[in-house]
């Protein structure tokens, strides 16, 4: 079976996690796309750590407001019922457990729930920004990542080698081959995404994987 990377499937699957009323923070990059696939009938509140609730879609070209951006600095809109606040309040909301789900990209994630996404020593050091508070504060932490690295290795590690953003905080990992819960120092495979199979996942991933009793192959 050949692997073809598919970021869209990651975003689509994550979008099904939420219930109506969920408060959700979507990280920069791939996680931002999750907003495009939230099922009809589910109303979530998107929190943007630079200072508002009620993040809406990107504005039409020419209607950008220099004073209204997301945490990546891109122009966005605010939905009716949204509100603005300063950074202390924003991180109060985040660290205080008022965000239900945070979705983040990773450099590495491991089977203990450790996450690394801010630094490759000596090479690239973007900094942890607000990711570190989000991972510690949000009720549910979802790591979003392609399953494989460009060199063929897996992004799902037994143990992170990069400096950690946070220790033992990741609850779920969603890749383009499946959806995993992290539990008891293992990846529990909960769903495998067609056309991949559980055998494929176990064989190709260099980490401890247990297949959940109710694990199914699903179409995304």
């Amino acid at each position: 079976m050949e692997y073809v990377s598919n970021k869209t499937n990651i975003a689509k699957r994550i979008a099904r996690f939420f219930e109506s009323g969920s408060v959700v923070n979507l990280g920069i990059g791939l996680p931002t796309q999750v907003a495009n696939y939230i099922p009809e009938g589910v109303t979530v509140v998107l929190q943007s750590e630079n200072g508002f609730l009620g993040l809406g879609p990107a504005p039409e070209k020419g209607k950008e407001d220099k004073d209204l951006t997301n945490a990546g600095g891109q122009p966005v809109t605010i939905l009716p019922g949204g509100m603005c606040f300063d950074s202390a309040t924003s991180f109060g909301i985040i660290r205080g457990g008022h965000v239900d789900y945070t979705v983040l990209g990773v450099l590495e994630v491991d089977q203990k729930g450790n996450l690394a996404n801010y630094k490759i020593p000596g090479k690239m050091v973007p900094g942890m920004g607000g990711a570190i508070d989000l991972v510690v504060g949000a009720k549910v932490v979802i790591a979003a990542t392609l399953h494989f690295e460009k060199n063929g290795g897996t992004k799902l590690k037994r143990e992170c080698s990069l400096p950690l953003t946070a220790r033992e905080q990741v609850n779920y990992v969603v890749t383009d081959v499946g959806f995993f819960e992290i539990k008891d120092n293992k990846y529990i495979l909960k769903e495998v995404f067609a056309p991949y199979t559980t055998d494929f996942v176990v064989e190709k991933t260099d980490a401890d994987i247990e297949i959940a009793d109710d694990c199914q192959q699903v179409e995304i």
Binding site: D86, S87, F91, R95, V125, P126, D133, R167
Partner: protein
């Protein structure tokens, strides 16, 4: 209410001395006091310590705003949460030219607030078990561990508001609010760059975000 002095960009930046610590409001360039930063680049004051959320977005062809000061090497030290959008900061850090300290964003803003409101520090779970923990006191409260984080003050805060009344009461605009109200509490000298100036009493007391008593000088955006 007492009227605050409205000064020029040149007068404002002349109040910043070599070696000062300077807080700069803004979040990836949104809500940044760009006229003040432009003036500070002109005068070239250096050996400054920057306290800011991030180091801005660098346009390598035409650096403006905060990145222009970084390219100009006016900061010998930077306390920021994110430098990913300005590779020059990373280069200076890796080359050992500038002392760049990365601080979690929520911890950074709460440290600034802590200084402004007279606390000696606070306990946060953020950073436990990571490099952020290094050199910090770990305090155990009923079996749960926290890092003790200390307040962060500055000599000067340069903040950006949408509207100021003549006494210095401030309104912000949407996500241009970010670190500005918190920094307004926590520096010895607070200079606000405002886009609009209105009369005292024109802003509803319920809507004011930063009270006049925090503001020392007003500068109008160019």
């Amino acid at each position: 209410m007492l009227v605050k002095e409205i000064i020029s960009v040149e007068e404002a930046v002349s109040k910043i001395n070599k070696g000062d610590s300077v807080m700069v409001g803004g979040f990836i360039g949104c809500g940044t006091p760009d006229s003040l930063l432009g003036g500070l680049k002109e005068v070239g004051t250096d050996d400054l310590t920057l306290i800011c959320n991030d180091s801005g977005i660098l346009d390598p062809e035409n650096p403006t705003g905060l990145p222009a000061l970084i390219v100009n090497k006016q900061f010998s030290k930077m306390l920021v949460s994110h430098i990913g959008t300005n590779p020059e900061t990373g280069r200076q850090m890796n080359a050992g030219e500038t002392d760049v300290q990365l601080i979690p964003q929520g911890t950074l803003v709460e440290r600034i607030r802590s200084a402004g409101i007279g606390l000696g520090g606070f306990l946060t779970p953020t950073g436990l078990g990571t490099e952020v923990e290094e050199g910090k006191q770990v305090i155990d409260i009923d079996g749960i561990k926290y890092l003790l984080e200390l307040p962060l003050r500055a000599n000067v805060a340069l903040i950006k508001a949408k509207v100021a009344d003549k006494s210095g009461n401030l309104l912000y605009s949407k996500t241009a609010r970010n670190f500005n109200p918190v920094m307004a509490m926590s520096a010895d000298l607070v200079i606000v760059e405002a886009e609009e100036l209105v009369e005292i009493g024109d802003i509803d007391p319920e809507h004011v975000v930063t009270p006049s008593i925090f503001v020392d000088y007003i500068v109008m955006s160019k």
